[in-house]
Amino acid sequence: MFRLLIRHGTTLFVSLFGLTLLTFVLSQQGDEALHLYQSQHFIGQYFEYLQFLLAGDWGFSSIHNRPVLYDFLLHFPATIELVVLALLFAIVFGLTLGIMAANRRGKWLDNTLMGVTLAGYSMPIYWWGMLLVLLFSLTLGWTPVAGRIDYVYDIPPVTRFMLIDSLLSQGQYGFDAFFNALLHLILPAITLSTIPMAIIARMTRSSLLGVLKAEYIRTARSKGLSQQRIIWIHALRNALIPILTISGVQVSIIMSGVIITEYIFAWPGVGKWLLEAVSRRDFASIQAGILALSLLVIAFNLALDLLASYMNPRLRRPS
């Protein structure tokens, strides 16, 4: 476990260094300096910049006329809510579809699923998101078009996660507010999770089919175990390891998709905030937004990597 932490710690350190260096350079691009540095030298300023970041001083947005951190804290929970749900969708449905396809290899279900996932994989999500809105929101009227919650609900921001806050204000609205928030969340999450879901489904299928050819599966069959047990315990335990690693890559796909998705659904998250900042050359906000999204990618990757290592006993306890 210790060796594992050191290995992941090293990669974490390197990516954090690269990231902060990038945002540091960005933060110096604006018309006026973001921070007041005492050091004259570039390197000294970088370390001072790090100190500012850690102290919570992320600069001052000239557009909004308030500290960047304030806007960040306003928008960040919305994005996390959306991203986590999208990732959950992608992993749960991706795994399910992949297992179903592998189970019926070469049959019509397998071919259909693989065709559908290929279509999903090739889908431009800005177009796909609008199609979903057209069908479910405008034609069928099942879901709201935009935003996080209807204006009739006045939810006090406690955690700023709408799903949790709406549950907290249950005394006032019952579960209505929660379901309303969920309905708002569902289309953007589907839009965002389509591509990763397709990738995970295809990956699951091929990984599972590869594992099912292994000799230990033959051993498991010779023990007389049921097909369900062989797939869910013996095969999936091993097939899941590369899938988890791939899911880490999916997080970065989701992060780049989140900007456009938030824009389509008028979702008040970091992506929409960042887009606005870019169009108005607000470098302080750009720098903070990039930092936030990248930190999220790094954090998810680290968590999934650790999980994958935990699943793989050969990495967990080297002999």
Partner: protein, 326 residues
Amino acid sequence: MSLLQIENLNVDFMTDDGLVRAVDKVKLSIDNGQVIGVIGESGSGKSVMALAIAGLLSPAARMQADLFNLDGHDLTRMSPAERHKLITGNISIIFQEPTSSLNPALTIGYQLDETIRFHEGGTTKQRKDRALELLAQVGIMDAKRRYKEYPHQLSGGLNQRVMIAIALACQPKLLIADEPTTALDVTVQSQILDLLLKVKEEHNMALMLITHDFSILAETTTKVHVMYCGQIVESGRTYNLLSQPYHPYTKALLDSVPHFGMRYKKGRRLFNLPGSTPPISHLPVGCYLGPRCPYAAKKCVQAPELFNIKGRRVRCHFPLIEEEES
């Protein structure tokens, strides 16, 4: 009474070249508690035959048999599910590569425990005791520690012992050992072999040893089947077959093994059969050994049948009997 009786067992594979026959009209029987050997080169179909008997063929394979009796039940008249149940309850199999035959993501204990749970049942405590007992039986010293470990932490020999313990947990009447020692060190080989014979006695199982090493068979088996290109070319009692092979292929196999007491002479070479085993998708016409056989004659373009001669079965038009006697 025979435990296992098989007649005309065929296994075909659908390939891009068409239907390929990997096991051709194999006939064999094993009595309770008997040890038999199957020998042949790589690709002679002996492993496929073992998998067919153990019901572990891949879906791409087609298997058919005129007779397939196991422990008094006619398997040809059963549904696949019933057959699977009967086979897994009566036949266990261990493989050449013990380490890749065990699941790398699960502990030894778990893999043993689930087998016991499936075949014997019992409470968690009972199953754990039984597992430790089995591990001790197959000669694993610190069973308690090994129980918690993963296959990659064990040596090949230890993993093969674990495989044997798992096989024993199924309480089989027949244990098929498919080249159980090929991947192991020489010193470990004999240990595993001794262990197999020991547990065979203790559990009163029959044992089918599949190998390409005559020295293993000579010490352990009562009966040997020699396979070439998916066919049994000769079978008989081990001692007779090894001391006086009737089939040219058996003789060639025996001649190609150096034996103790052989004198070194300059320029002397071990006998080797010219050519190589033909791929089963492109078999020669007639006797499959024909093109390589030093005794081949015109008649050999007709496929020979397996016939009984002096208590042996030989698939050859010109068995090497007269020559030995004259």
